[in-house]
């Protein structure tokens, strides 16, 4: 186990967007629920859970997509015994841990205040945490892998936001077939088939893990990181 000081330094490297993004995402979800002109319990609860399922994972994933590509000290990083890909993974863990802390707190408030239970497809207080956890891991894995392939935070961020937006704009078309349903990010609040929910969540978690693993394989070639970036 490496000293906590190292984790603190890595946390600083993730930047302000990592710190502000998740709470801002929760705040936007609450603002959207408050803005709903005809509050009905179910719809308000859906918007609140939607904030956790849609906005929070997006915030984490966009930050994860920026972890690779603009490290000013990468040449030194590549020559130290701590492999740079482990350092990048550590930064990703910091981002996801902070996002998870914010999401758990927000979920706890929703559970305590009763809003969680008011959305019929909430899947309980425990397994229901996959509402935010699965899309966060899936989309963040995509962002990290896109960063490893493209080494351009702008491009990787664009891919994450585009995938997220396609699933928003074309929710019905995306869920027409089983593979699309299994990879749908918003199955709790916009899911087409409730029965697929658990499988969908597990597939998203698995996809995230596979994408991170692929990214780590790519990052094992330091030359890719030192050669010219797509500035």
């Amino acid at each position: 186990m490496r000293p906590i000081t190292l984790w603190r330094y890595e946390a600083r490297r993730t930047g302000w967007a990592a710190v502000l993004g998740p709470p801002l995402a929760v705040a936007l979800g609450i603002a959207a629920a408050l803005a709903y002109p005809e509050p009905s319990d179910t719809t308000t609860a859906r918007i609140l859970l939607g904030g956790l399922e849609m906005a929070v994972p997006l915030a984490a994933a966009v930050v994860c997509s920026t972890l690779i590509g603009q490290d000013p000290a990468r040449e030194v990083q590549l020559t130290v015994p701590t492999p740079y890909r482990i350092t990048l993974l550590r930064r990703m863990i910091v981002v996801l841990s902070w996002t998870a802390a914010v999401a758990v707190l927000a979920a706890a408030v929703l559970i305590v205040t009763g809003w969680w239970a008011r959305w019929p497809q909430n899947h309980g207080a425990f397994a229901g945490q996959l509402t935010w956890l699965a899309p966060m891991l899936g989309l963040s894995g995509l962002g990290f892998a896109a960063g490893a392939v493209l080494r351009s935070p702008a491009a990787a961020g664009a891919i994450v936001t585009t995938v997220w937006a396609i699933q928003q704009f074309f929710a019905d078309a995306v869920q027409e077939h089983l593979p699309g349903r299994l990879l749908y990010l918003f199955a709790t609040t916009r899911g087409a088939a409730t029965d697929d929910w658990l499988a969908n969540r597990l597939v998203l978690v698995g996809a995230g893990a596979v994408l991170v693993a692929l990214a780590l394989i790519l990052l094992g070639r330091p030359e890719r990181l030192i050669s010219e970036e797509d500035e």
């Binding site: 490496r2 000081t5 190292l6 000013p72 000290a73 040449e75 990083q77 015994p81 701590t82 330091p222």
Partner: protein, 297 residues
């Protein structure tokens, strides 16, 4: 820590040969690496530091073959590296940056790490500025931070690429002395454009051109390569057309040129004793004249 390089080739995408069949043995102690921009020095250093993989050939550092992952990691445990363009984290102070790099180098013991960071800040004369953010540091100050981070883990192999760029004359001399003292039983590979830095610190050196070695020997041997080829020409006319002009100094009688040329550039040319810089220019001029044929030592 001995470095053995044989048949080393590095070809980048697009077919650019940065290193082209290099054979080189680097012994313990200070070793200088000279060459023009694009000669392949930085690529060679990056290969030795484990950042860039060779296209062909073999590199063994202290008995570890860097072609293997464990070999590279073993070398990196013994390595201090100062890149040509050192990037730092501007939001960290000098002390924090060094503390962070020390952690990455596996120095997990907090008190030992703090002690070492403090010592090195003292060595590079930055104690006074240790708790200021790097954002406000001048180029020379950043370079000193870079030198300190390279020395953190008391490396057995120190690779420094253009280390004195941006340093003022006093800092430069101070750094050269530091490197020489540090070398002892360690290996220090010093790459630079500043020939004088090599002359003041290294016993042996190599000169690279277009990815090939065109000289390998002692500093004295390199200087001797210009023996009988250094001339002084004083003229109020145009600069000598033949040879390489090393310097031009205004004088009462006109301009006083120092020229490296195989034959006297004019009838009035006066022979001079060669310097290391003259030797370097003579070697590179020979290489240019020989075209693509590499010279041996």
């Amino acid at each position: 820590m001995r470095i053995e390089i044989s048949g080393l080739t590095k070809t980048y995408r697009g077919g650019v040969h940065a290193i082209d069949g290099l054979d080189l043995d680097i012994p313990t102690g200070m070793f200088g690496l000279l060459g023009a921009n694009g000669a392949g020095k930085t690529t060679l250093m990056r290969i030795l530091a484990g950042i860039v993989r060779p296209s062909a050939g073999r590199v063994v550092v202290g008995g570890h073959d860097i072609a293997s992952g464990p070999g590279r990691t073993a070398v990196q445990r013994e390595l201090g590296y100062l890149p040509q363009d050192l990037g730092v984290y501007p939001d960290l102070t000098a002390r924090q940056f060094l503390d962070y790099v020390a952690l990455l180098k596996g120095m997990d013991d907090r008190s030992a790490r703090r002690r070492r960071v403090g010592e090195l800040l003292e060595v590079v004369a930055l104690t006074e500025y240790a708790d200021r953010r790097l954002r406000g540091f001048s180029g020379g100050m950043r370079q000193r931070v870079g030198i300190a981070q390279a020395l953190l883990a008391d490396p057995r192999l120190l690779i420094v690429d253009e280390p004195t760029a941006g340093l003022d004359p006093e800092e430069r001399i101070r750094f050269r002395t530091l490197l020489s003292q540090f070398a002892g039983r360690r290996t220090v590979l010093l790459s630079t454009h500043i020939v004088d830095d090599i002359g003041q610190t290294c016993r042996e050196a190599a000169v690279l051109a277009k990815g090939r070695m065109i000289f390998r020997g002692t500093v004295e041997e390199l200087t001797r390569r210009a023996r009988g080829r250094v001339w002084e020409v004083v003229t109020d006319g145009p600069a000598p057309a033949e040879g390489t002009v090393v310097s031009a100094l205004p004088h009462d009688d006109g301009m006083r040129y120092r020229v490296v040329a195989r034959t006297a550039p004019s009838a009035q040319a006066r022979p001079l004793d060669p310097s290391l810089e003259d030797g370097y220019l003579a070697v590179t001029a020979d290489q240019a004249a020989a075209g693509r044929e590499p010279a041996s030592r």
